[in-house]
Symmetry: C2
Amino acid sequence: MADVITTEYRLASEPALRAFAAAALEKVGVSSEDAAIVADVLVAADLRGIESHGVARLEPYYVKRIQAGRLNPRPAVTTVRETPTSILVDAGNGLGHPAGKRTMDAVLAKAAEHGAAFGAVRNSNHFGIAGYYAMQALERDMIGIASTNSVRFAAPTFGRDVMLGTNPLAFAIPANREPAFVLDFATTTVPKGKLEVYQRRGTPLKPGWAIDREGNETLDPQVALTGALLPLGGYGVDNGGHKGFGLGLLVEILCGVLAGGAFGNDLPLPDDGPLPGRISHFFAAFTIGGFRDPLQFKADMDTELRAFKDSAKAPGQDRIYVAGEIEHEKTLFNRAHGVPVHAKVWNGLQSMAADLGLPFEIAKR
Amino acid sequence: MADVITTEYRLASEPALRAFAAAALEKVGVSSEDAAIVADVLVAADLRGIESHGVARLEPYYVKRIQAGRLNPRPAVTTVRETPTSILVDAGNGLGHPAGKRTMDAVLAKAAEHGAAFGAVRNSNHFGIAGYYAMQALERDMIGIASTNSVRFAAPTFGRDVMLGTNPLAFAIPANREPAFVLDFATTTVPKGKLEVYQRRGTPLKPGWAIDREGNETLDPQVALTGALLPLGGYGVDNGGHKGFGLGLLVEILCGVLAGGAFGNDLPLPDDGPLPGRISHFFAAFTIGGFRDPLQFKADMDTELRAFKDSAKAPGQDRIYVAGEIEHEKTLFNRAHGVPVHAKVWNGLQSMAADLGLPFEIAKR
């Protein structure tokens, strides 16, 4: 399952990459505090091997949207409603990462005091990997949950309109010696980027991934890109497509509807023009100590995760991975060897640096 | 998607069926309070069209297990740990339904006071449909979550050992005029009962459902029944099988590990002999009022659910169903016309009534 790091990749220094990403955002008006948070979330994605959500998105998703006036670099972030165990934040059409991290911080503080708390953010923008926010709970011996809606790419079961985002859900649960359980997944079968990869390669899609504009399943990547993604479980109900659709709609409700943000037909399509931040996020945390001694729980987590990892393998497989394990190993490897950045992304960052008048010194030495 | 009610089904009176189920449980020593809860959960499943979890299970899962001494009809249920926002209950190897319902009641009371709460139950048994407990939140304008682990039927991604239950997750979110959103799904692609149906029919399975004993995908129902179910998303990772595995393991952790119950290799296999209740459950609830005015939220839920239902249909489809909608319509229909009970199940109940010395007057008049 691990991606092979070929010569198409160059290795960046982790602190230099983080500093560069932050500097670029500061150049377009983001406060240094906010820029540092965004940079940390993006580099965390690259460290975890989730390139699609890393520094590759710095320019197109954040810098350019700020430059185009679509996203406010200095938003007025306000708390709309707050109780001892809940908080609803309006991100003021700012970057999703600082609003997300700070709201999860507030949720964790409330949960530390009261045992459990929930949070939501509206009027926000793309916040990177959902897992980052769920993982904020780990060091506090809590279980963390994070989610976000997104621009629309997917159709409901039995439908053909593009109605749902890839709507990821993330859960983070600490262990002791084993890496934490971190489940962070899109509720569509595959992300849109996968269709693009198959289009470039000229290879057919797998069944269960996408439909054409008329709502028929298609294996043609070009046709699929003008159609819609399918929910986890695929076409129709035979393989549980209605479960994936249900999960996607759950995320829409917990984010858009609960936060009082955009949802349903008001959620933007990918090709909609400049739109103010219509993305919403959802967070939750609760203390393990409310149920069991955290040390005992984490020791049991080790036993549990090992039971699965040590179980018999399917033919041709030599490992069973539990959620978050690959990303944890990649993080350790990339921390030691440098953060792999695809050559195209590297060159893009370099030319953005030139445009912004920034030094570009990210190479691992 | 609706099941056709043929002459294979007979119609029972809802109150008579509930009273009969309760009487049968009382006959084997269950208290009248507990018996009434079990009966309500079972009949709710039949009303919702989830026959597999209804009165069909009354004798094999509950009455016979009590008679065999596997399940304690008068358990000592104890609260192991409790905080203002959490509760951990030991069900004393009793029926799962009363322990589940009362723990969710406690979670809802805590959430009503503090805004959010979580609960878990260990040393329990099969509790019927998870959706029942999540739906307890609806009338209180809360969002409810319920889950349970189960005996093992499924293999992890890249594995071949039977390691995971069907591990359902349920979420209930209220709406106003629209039926509530109730997502209640097994984290395997299909339930084990589906393999048995295909075996009886002699038709091949679909890809993505099951593996043989060696861990290869199989379409042969007989072979699959000696193998394992696959997680939602199917074989390997191409269609997101690792996501379904992650969800199944999440449920195992939130139930078995968090509750301090059985998990991993200690969780029973279906053919294990008489085992004390090693099943655990998980519950959560939080108030909508912590985020928004509940009336406004529920009006927005109507808009949201209608947006999906009114969106364009795939070829050959005339409806898009949101989670819980079919079950809601079946409940209304069955309430009006009688609860459909399969002739085989009906006859089984009748012979159990004779064995227990109970009158059998469940027919709808």
